[in-house]
């Protein structure tokens, strides 16, 4: 055995992450530039001539050969610079930073809602396997997995924003709004994402609990005369948590880059919205920078989730 297995593990994971990120950078650049469309033609509008377009292309360095553009971009990356947005008149890092808050808060609130619904329902479903409650929750999970988020968003909007007027329809607060005030604008979108994503958590929790409930130590716990709630919540659920934590981690990562539809429907100035508008306008630096950052977040969350296993399940060692 090695003397510092954890250190070795961490180093090898970090090296792996670097390789992944390098591949992502190359792929992102190639895919972005392989798509047709021209940001400058979009920027200048209908009346721009070919000369106008090529003049402004030169201004943004888009007239240079692609390998040269790639080299410039990589050089910027190595200096911690993601480049400047063509449309937003600001550095990509600043644009991403401005959107980090709504997206992160949305993801965390949504995961809290998803876990709040998904874990208890999954546990109940497993405990009452085959009975009415199980069928009800399994059915709800199926429904949640099938409902499109834009439709569910519009339904909640009509009910709670237009009908009852409890929540705002869209946006992220007035200028000068406090953090708590801005969070108020996230309640409906987080509910949409949370409810829909809870479907997955229900199914994973149920499956994981069913595995664990059949284990010997659970039978032993019951034989010891422990109450059913202690058996389920302390002995079974704790051991069933590893796959659930994995799913929750992946859900957070997915939401940071993938809450695109919900952010668009609710007009949230988040990363998803930024990526969509950047893709539509072919704002290359933003697309490349955002995808790279989202990939980095995904890789880091995956890594942290793996580390979390050791906390959730002391048997796991690296």
């Amino acid at each position: 055995m090695t003397r510092y297995p954890m250190t070795r593990y961490l180093l090898s994971r970090l090296m792996g992450m670097l390789v992944v990120m390098s591949l992502v950078a190359v792929l992102v650049f190639i895919l972005t530039r392989a798509a047709s469309g021209d940001p400058i033609a979009v920027l200048l509008g209908d009346q721009a001539t070919a000369e106008d377009i090529s003049r402004v292309q030169k201004l943004y360095g888009l007239d240079k050969p692609l390998p040269v553009q790639f080299g410039i971009w990589v050089n910027q990356l190595l200096h911690g610079n993601l480049g400047d947005s063509i449309f937003l008149q600001r550095p990509v890092t600043q644009a991403l930073w401005e959107r980090a808050e709504p997206t992160t808060l949305l993801a965390l609130m949504a995961v809290a809602i998803a876990a709040g619904i998904g874990v208890p329902c999954g546990v109940v479903s497993a405990v009452f396997r085959g009975r009415m409650l199980d069928q009800l929750f399994t059915g709800l999970a199926m429904l949640g997995a099938s409902v499109p988020s834009f439709w569910f968003g519009l339904v909640l909007m009509q009910l709670f924003a237009v009908g009852l007027a409890w929540f705002p329809v869209s946006g992220y607060g007035d200028p000068g709004a406090t953090l708590l005030e801005r969070m108020y604008f996230l309640v409906l979108p987080a509910t949409v994402l949370g409810v829909l994503n809870s479907a997955l958590i229900i199914r994973f929790t149920r499956a994981s609990m069913l595995d664990v409930l059949g284990e010997d130590y659970v039978r032993t716990a019951r034989a010891k005369g422990l109450s059913e709630s202690v058996v389920v919540l302390k002995h079974a659920l704790r051991n069933a948590l590893v796959p659930i934590v994995t799913v929750l981690g992946l859900t957070v990562a997915l939401m940071i880059g993938g809450a695109v539809v919900t952010e668009t429907v609710f007009g949230l100035p988040g990363v998803g919205n930024l990526v969509v508008s950047a893709v539509l306008r072919r704002d290359y630096p933003v697309i490349q920078g955002a995808l790279l950052v989202v990939a980095a977040i995904y890789v880091v969350i995956n890594f942290l989730t793996d580390l979390l296993y050791t906390v959730v399940d002391p048997r796991v060692k690296y």
Binding site: S36, L44, D46, E98, F167, G171, D174, Y184, T264, P269
Partner: protein, 517 residues
């Protein structure tokens, strides 16, 4: 101030729940006491440089910050804005002497002078596509003292003042010291000054206290402008359904460009929202590639014109008959440029005749590639009908549906398309749009007849005579078919009943508006 949903009594339950955790957040609490308008726009502006792009969205926002020398009143007549009066024009129509109004303050606290105007117009002629076309007509542009500007043209060019007055791609007058490429500061003379931009969240404009308003009564974009509301918040809400819901919920004082299907819901909520229909808002048009491919043949284009029914295309594009008018005159009845010239070729939808014309033109069944996008639903819906009409007329048609960024790139390449569909605002001067009336725009229409008709129109400064001369241009367009003006469409927007003083315009503005308490 507007009562947003969160400060209605019904919200008390939710607000109280949140109050328990300190989450009390009515929409406008943060800025209590300050009057503000929440204005839902169709998206994030691509730039705030109003000169560099003709994008409507940029114009709608930044026309509050920047002003041109002249503008259009409610009757689409030219009136002075930053200029003291309409210019003195020399007898040969080549020299324009403009005098600035005195005491006009810039947002940086300095008084506007002729140097600012000349520097701004030079920049406009460098960066704006319309400005560039004007620059070809201009021999010299100089100051005459601190308040005077003199423009000398190479030859008479009647659309000059309209070009200087047009709000989109505006010949905006900026503080000389703020001029840069790209702009870093936005220093104009308008009733509102730029305050802050948070992309995808808002563009904030605040009232300019030292604004120097004209004395004449307000009319259209002209006359007295007063910033009554202290802050304008232009909020990007790209999802059209969300704009509708936001308008119905009372979150927005104004919601721009709503789907026509939403009219029923808006009409059923009279106390909450007021529909705004702007007739003759714009016109869809299909451009033919006259440079390469099957559409270079004028007789084939003529056959296509015969095959199509514009009325059917408009119905597919807009559905509700209140939102479109199928008429061949490019300018509405009652306006100076109304003409029926050539309109017998409009809306023929005669497949049999088209087949005969196509055969005579030597059409051999080449595929006609229709380039379109789903960025605007009506473009796509009209393209579907167009393709079917062409097939009925014996043509082989193929739809190339791409996203908008791809369309604007591909239309610059003559090898990639035969027809593309787009639209334009309906403006008071023919030379303002579509760009195909100028040189070099996709379609690349160029012919002696075009040159002759446009030259006559552009050199005639008498407005009464220009109307008739436009009729001749319209006739050439119907004869040579470089593009087909499909008809006119209206737009639908909505406002809160609390927003007072708003008058519908192609480019909505919010000076002279107030908010009912």
């Amino acid at each position: 101030m507007m009562h947003t949903p969160l400060i209605r009594r019904r919200t008390a339950v939710a607000a109280a729940l949140l109050a328990g955790t300190g989450l009390v957040s009515p929409l406008t609490f943060a800025q209590a006491g300050k009057s503000a308008l929440n204005l839902a726009m169709i998206g994030e502006p691509p730039t705030l440089d109003i000169m560099s792009t003709p994008a409507d969205l940029v114009c709608i926002i930044m026309q509050h910050v920047y002003e041109p020398l002249f503008t259009f009143d409610a009757k689409a007549s030219l009136v002075p804005l930053l200029a003291e009066s309409l210019p003195k024009v020399s007898a040969d129509g080549k020299q324009y002497s403009i005098t600035l109004r005195k005491g006009v303050m810039l947002h940086n606290g300095r008084e506007l002078n002729a140097d600012d105007v000349v520097a701004s117009l030079h920049r406009w002629m460098e960066v704006s596509p319309r400005g560039k076309s004007v620059s070809k007509e201009v021999a010299t542009l100089v100051t005459k003292g601190t308040q005077g500007i003199e423009i000398t043209l190479k030859s008479p060019y009647a659309p000059l003042l309209s070009q200087l007055a047009m709000a989109s791609g505006m010949a905006a007058i900026m503080a000389k010291e703020s001029l840069a490429q790209p702009l870093k500061e936005f220093v104009g003379t308008g009733p509102y000054k730029f305050k802050e931009r948070r992309p995808d969240q808002y563009v904030l404009l605040s009232k300019f206290d030292d604004y120097s308003a004209r004395k004449e009564a307000a009319s259209g974009y002209g006359g007295k402008r007063t910033a009554v509301v202290e802050e304008l918040r232009f909020i990007p809400v790209p999802n059209a359904n969300t704009r509708v819901e936001g308008a119905l919920a009372g979150q927005f004082h104004y919601a721009d460009l709503l789907p026509i299907e939403a009219l029923g819901r808006i009409e059923k909520a009279p106390g909450k929202v007021v529909p705004i229909m702007t007739p003759s808002f714009g016109f869809p048009y299909m451009v033919f590639n006259t440079k390469e491919g099957v559409m270079t043949s004028q007789p084939t284009r003529k056959a296509v014109q015969t095959a199509i029914g514009e009325g059917e295309m408009l119905a597919a594009g807009f559905g509700d008959t209140r939102f479109f008018v199928a008429e061949g005159n490019h300018f509405p009845k009652g306006t100076p440029f109304f003409s029926a010239a050539g309109t017998t070729s409009y809306n023929e939808r005669d497949a049999a005749k088209a087949k005969v014309q196509a055969a005579a033109a030597g059409y051999k069944g080449d595929t006609i590639r229709i380039l379109t996008s789903r960025q605007y639903d009506f473009h796509y819906n009209m393209a579907l009908i167009l393709a079917e009409q062409l097939k009925r007329g014996g043509f082989k048609a193929e739809l190339n549906v791409v996203d908008w960024a791809t369309l604007v790139q591909r239309r610059s390449d003559a090898k990639l398309w035969d027809i593309y569909i787009t639209h334009s605002g309906q403006f008071p001067e023919p030379m303002l749009s579509p760009p195909q009336l100028g040189d070099g725009a996709p379609g690349w229409w160029s012919s002696p007849a075009k040159q002759e008709a446009l030259s006559a129109l552009n050199q005639e400064s008498n407005p009464a005579k220009r109307g008739a001369l436009w009729g001749k241009v319209q006739q050439v367009i119907y004869d040579e078919v470089p593009y087909i003006n499909v008809g006119k469409f209206a737009s639908l927007s909505a406002r809160s009943p609390a927003l007072e003083g708003y008058t519908p315009n192609t480019y909505p503005f919010f000076w002279n508006t107030s908010v009912k308490n």
